[in-house]
Every structure is written in structure tokens, then in C-alpha cells.
């Protein structure tokens, strides 16, 4: 359980994180989504006590991180890949962390195995690929077998095998009842592995919801999409029945105000051939763009939109 309350971080006149409040619950994978520079890493660094909040608090399992008796055994932390001394081997790095908690060699070997680093564990980290560095970060986070994991961009730089590996790992950890909190700027990735999503933009909370709820709320969610040989005739009939339609291609309509069954029945009554018919499911990406579009309206600025577009 991670609780963040009114968390704020200012650097001079810049506010990197602005009054953030959210809770990350156990037993689920919670994604932390936002464009680069939105304040994700800063928030995570404040949670684990590396950066001091300008205001507000962050607790893990009810305690300030700095007050935890055995941090590695309560919270597994993976920060960006540059948190390992390049002159150290993976084994040396993990042993250095393990010794601070009296964790034995056997556990170090175990997490090296879990991360698939056996063949390179005795090589200096400076020569590692980004993917290997990420695996080492995950191994370090798992070292104390903690009930809570905080992972900053763990998917970055992994090959497809690695992506699949970490997705399964996170799922297993959450199903095991652990709290899993990971950041990403890749919406597709979070859509694949997260149960809940905390969305921030420019340091502010934009949403904190179930992935499904968030996606269902998108503007296009629930639209019926129909492809037909006679789009104009069908559109006329549907409009007359009270629905609104929009032609998205010469032979394709998007219909709102009517479900797919009713659209199909209307087509049948008209004798129009239906080539495809279905309900549009929103995507996390759409949900995200909707959210940030609102933020732009409140701010009255185009900058956020530009950030979002750069992100895509």
C-alpha cells in the first residue's frame, strides 16, 4: 500500500509535482502514466526518500520510507538504469545491497536466476545493454522479497522476450497479493499489464481509476461502427430513428445513441447488406488524450497538447 497525499515538489520557480494525492493498493498492478517530464520519476523518488517533498507526504505500508526498519524487505525499488556503478559486476552490486540487510548469497543467486542474468552476473555492469541493466534493476528490486514494488520505466529497453517476461512477472507478483506500482510513458504497455492507472500531466493528477473504467469513459467508447454497401441510405434511416451518425469512410459509419443490435436490425429492415458491425472499445491512448485535452482547456495553453503530441 502506497499513500501519496498532497505531494508537491518545486525546483526554484518550476513545480515538477503539484499537490498529488493517490493510493496504490495491494493485489493489483497500478500503472503510473504521463509524458516524459510529467513528474513520474520525481514522485517515485519522493516516495522512496531520495528527493525531499516541498510539501505533502508519501508513505509505504503506513510508514515514511526513511522510517522503515528493513527497506529492501518492505519495498523493492527500481529507479532508472543509471543507479548502478559501472565498475561493479551484477553480482557485486546485488551483494552490496544484500549485505546492508544481512541477506545471504543464496538469495542473490536466486534473483540473478529470476532475472535471467546468470551468464553475465560476473561481468562489469558498464558493458551491459540497456535490457540487461533493466533486468539487473528488477533483480535488485526483488532482492528482499518485498510486498511492495516501485518500478520506474521497467519495460524501457527490453526486447520482446523481456517485455513478456516482465509482464508475467508483474502479474504473478500482483496475484500474490503484492502492491505493484510501475511508471511508463508507453500507453500500449500499460494497457497490456495494468489493472489501475494513475495518470499525471505537468505534475498534476489527471485520473486515478480502473483501466476498464477509464477506457469506457473515453469519448468514442460505445460507438457502433458499421460498414455497409449503402452507407447513405442506412445513415438516413438511423438518423430518422433518433441516432446520430458520422461517415468515417465512404462505406463506414460511426453511430451513437443506438447499440449494435438495433443498428443491425435497422439495416435488415432496410435490406441493406452489412459487411462489418461492432462496438468501438476505447483505448487507453484515447482516454489519455481526452484527459490531457481537458487539462489544456483548464490551462488555456497549447503547451500540454504539444507535449502530448510529441509523446505520440
Amino acid at each position: 500500500m502506497i499513500e501519496v497525499t498532497d505531494l508537491t515538489k518545486r525546483y526554484g520557480s518550476t513545480t515538477a509535482v503539484n499537490g498529488l494525492t493517490f493510493t496504490v493498493s495491494p493485489g493489483a498492478v497500478t500503472g503510473f502514466l504521463g509524458p516524459n517530464g510529467a513528474g513520474k520519476s520525481t514522485t517515485m523518488r519522493m516516495i522512496v526518500g531520495l528527493a525531499r517533498p516541498s510539501a505533502g507526504t508519501a508513505t509505504v505500508n503506513g510508514h515514511r520510507y526513511a522510517d522503515l526498519r528493513a527497506p529492501l524487505q518492505e519495498v523493492g525499488v527500481m529507479l532508472d538504469g543509471r543507479s548502478v556503478h559501472p565498475g561493479r559486476t551484477a553480482y557485486g552490486h546485488l551483494m552490496g545491497l544484500a549485505r546492508t540487510h544481512g541477506i545471504g548469497r543464496a538469495r542473490v543467486r536466486q534473483v540473478i536466476g529470476l532475472a535471467g542474468l546468470e551468464s553475465v552476473a560476473r561481468r562489469r555492469v558498464g558493458g551491459y545493454s540497456l535490457g540487461m541493466t533493466q533486468r539487473l534493476g528488477v533483480a535488485a528490486a526483488l532482492l528482499g522479497d518485498p510486498p511492495t514494488l516501485i518500478l520506474d520505466e521497467p519495460v524501457n529497453g527490453l526486447d520482446p522476450d523481456g517485455v513478456l517476461w516482465i509482464r508475467n512477472l508483474l502479474r504473478t507478483l500482483a496475484d500474490d497479493g503484492r502492491t505493484v506500482f510501475l511508471s511508463s510513458h508507453l500507453m500500449a504497455e500499460l494497457a497490456e499489464c495494468a489493472d489501475r492507472v494513475v495518470v499525471i500531466g505537468r505534475g498534476r493528477l489527471l485520473a486515478d481509476d480502473d483501466l476498464a473504467t477509464l477506457v469506457a469513459r473515453t469519448a468514442r467508447s460505445g460507438l457502433v461502427r458499421v460498414r455497409t454497401t449503402e452507407a447513405d441510405r442506412l445513415a438516413g434511416s438511423l438518423t430518422a430513428a433518433g441516432a446520430s451518425t458520422r461517415a468515417v469512410a465512404a462505406d463506414t459509419l460511426e453511430v451513437s445513441g443506438m447499440d449494435a443490435g438495433a443498428v443491425g436490425a435497422a439495416a435488415a429492415a432496410l435490406g441493406v447488406a452489412v459487411l462489418e458491425l461492432g462496438t468501438v472499445a476505447g483505448t487507453l491512448e484515447e482516454a489519455y488524450l481526452d484527459l490531457t485535452a481537458d487539462a489544456v482547456e483548464y490551462g488555456g495553453q497549447q503547451r500540454a497538447r504539444a507535449t502530448v503530441q510529441a509523446e505520440r
Binding site: V77, D80, G96, H101
Partner: protein, 268 residues
């Protein structure tokens, strides 16, 4: 692959304390090439300088005397350099590489980390100093000069030179660590420490000022009695050889306190 297997090797008593953090820092330090090189270089430089000095015709009853202690420890001024680099890297390296984030998230009590690093640097410098003395002495004693050298360790001069010299090397490494942790930039810290460590050479004849600087102790505490008496007779200094070690200790403590204050207050 099973993602979560039953964890083995977790401690029976959970917690972070000085003993554990010290074992971690000691292992981390000796796991780096730079540490092993620094210790080896200290020994090699000291042995080479001792060997050179033994070829000097001034060693012997007619010149500098035949104190073995002076021949093996009288060149710590040069042997200190690798240890200054080591100390500065120990203090600043984790910040320049970013690994401080790993270390401090495992041990959020930052003072504990600084203390463990200080003890590690002190221990490593002590190992290097003792090894440098023993290796240099061994080489000299089997050499042509061996039979003439005075090896008795029970006179005040030998004890001052050997023990004082080793303590001074340890304090210099600790000062370098403090400066490194304070500045967080290895190269700047190394430059500062070289300037401080060698300042004595630039300040010869200006003892009134030099005695209060951290670079004074090494020459003062490893000097022969005759030189100590000569300096004292000039009346420009108030701190003796041991006093200068105390001055260095105060500088080291100040650097550690400032580093500790920065570590406590600033983000990593």
C-alpha cells in the same frame, strides 16, 4: 519460469545496522578495481621512494641517520597521492555514477552510510599504510643498506614516524572522502585534495600559515627529531608534530560534518 519462488537466504533478524552497512561498503569498495589499484600504487610508490632514498649517500650516521622508520615512512608525501584519489572516489563516486540512489534507497539513514564509508576508507588506508611500511622495510632490510639501519621500534622517534605517519595517511583518506562527498564531483575533489596534500611544498618557510593546513601533518609527523627541534626553535609554529595530526583530524571532521549536512538536506 516461475516469477515468484520461495525466497531463500533472507536474514532471521531483519534490519539495517552499522555492522551490515559497513560490511556492504567494505565489500563494495574492494570490489572496485580503483581501490585495489590505489592500495597497490601506495605500496609501490612508497617502496620505490624508500629504495631511491636508500641509495642517497646522506642516509647513514653522517647524514639523515640510520632510522629505518624514517627511510620507509619519510616519503609518505608521495605515497599519499593514490589514497587521496581513493578517498575522493569513495566520497564522490556514488554521486557521479548515480549508484547513490541504489545505496540510499537500501539504507535511507544517510548518516549511517557516511559513517560506514568513513570507516571503510579509514580501514583501507590503514591496510595500505601498513602494507607500504612492511613491504618497504622488507626490501630495505634484505638490501645492501640493511645491516646499517636501526630497526628498534621502542624509541619515541620511530613510533612517532611510523604510527603518526600511518594515522596521518588514514586521516588524509578520510578528509578526501569528506571533500568528495561534499563536492560530489570526483575530479574536482581529487584536484582539491592534491592541492591540499602537496600545499606543504609550496609553503616551505611559511610554517606559521602552513601549520594550520591539513597538508602539514604528513611532513611534520614523519620528520627526524633534529628537524622537529629545528622547526620548534624557529618559534614560528605552535603545533608540534602530533598537534599537526590533530589539526588534520579537525579538518577531516569538518569535511565529514559538512558532507553529512549536505547528504541529509539535499536530494540524490
Amino acid at each position: 519460469m516461475t516469477a515468484v519462488v520461495a525466497a531463500t537466504g533472507l536474514p532471521s533478524s531483519a534490519g539495517v545496522h552499522l555492522g551490515r552497512v559497513l560490511r556492504s561498503e567494505w565489500g563494495k569498495s574492494w570490489g572496485l578495481r580503483s581501490t585495489r589499484w590505489a592500495v597497490a600504487a601506495t605500496v609501490a610508490i612508497n617502496a620505490s621512494m624508500a629504495l631511491l632514498m636508500s641509495l642517497d649517500s646522506l642516509v647513514g650516521a653522517e647524514g639523515y641517520g640510520n632510522s629505518l622508520a624514517y627511510v620507509v615512512a619519510g616519503n609518505f608525501l608521495f605515497a599519499q597521492l593514490p589514497l587521496l584519489v581513493y578517498g575522493a572516489l569513495m566520497g564522490a563516486g556514488e554521486f557521479s555514477t548515480g549508484s547513490a540512489a541504489s545505496t540510499l534507497s537500501a539504507v535511507p539513514r544517510r548518516g549511517l552510510v557516511l559513517l560506514a564509508k568513513t570507516l571503510t576508507a579509514a580501514g583501507t588506508a590503514a591496510v595500505a599504510a601498513i602494507a607500504a611500511v612492511v613491504v618497504s622495510a622488507a626490501i630495505l632490510l634484505v638490501g645492501p643498506l640493511g645491516p646499517d639501519l636501526h630497526v628498534a621500534l621502542d624509541d619515541g622517534q620511530s613510533v612517532r614516524i611510523l604510527v603518526g605517519g600511518a594515522v596521518t595517511l588514514v586521516l588524509l583518506a578520510v578528509l578526501a572522502l569528506g571533500v568528495g562527498a561534499l563536492l560530489r564531483r570526483p575530479l574536482v575533489a581529487i584536484a582539491v585534495m592534491f592541492a591540499l596534500g602537496m600545499s606543504e611544498l609550496a609553503l616551505i618557510g611559511a610554517d606559521a600559515v602552513a601549520q594550520w593546513l591539513p597538508g602539514h601533518a604528513l611532513l611534520a609527523v614523519t620528520a627526524l627529531n633534529e628537524f622537529v627541534d629545528l622547526v620548534a626553535s624557529m618559534g614560528t609554529t605552535v603545533v608540534g608534530p602530533w598537534g599537526s595530526v590533530g589539526v588534520l583530524g579537525a579538518w577531516a571532521l569538518l569535511a565529514l560534518l559538512l558532507a553529512g549536512a549536505r547528504l541529509r538536506r539535499s536530494d540524490v
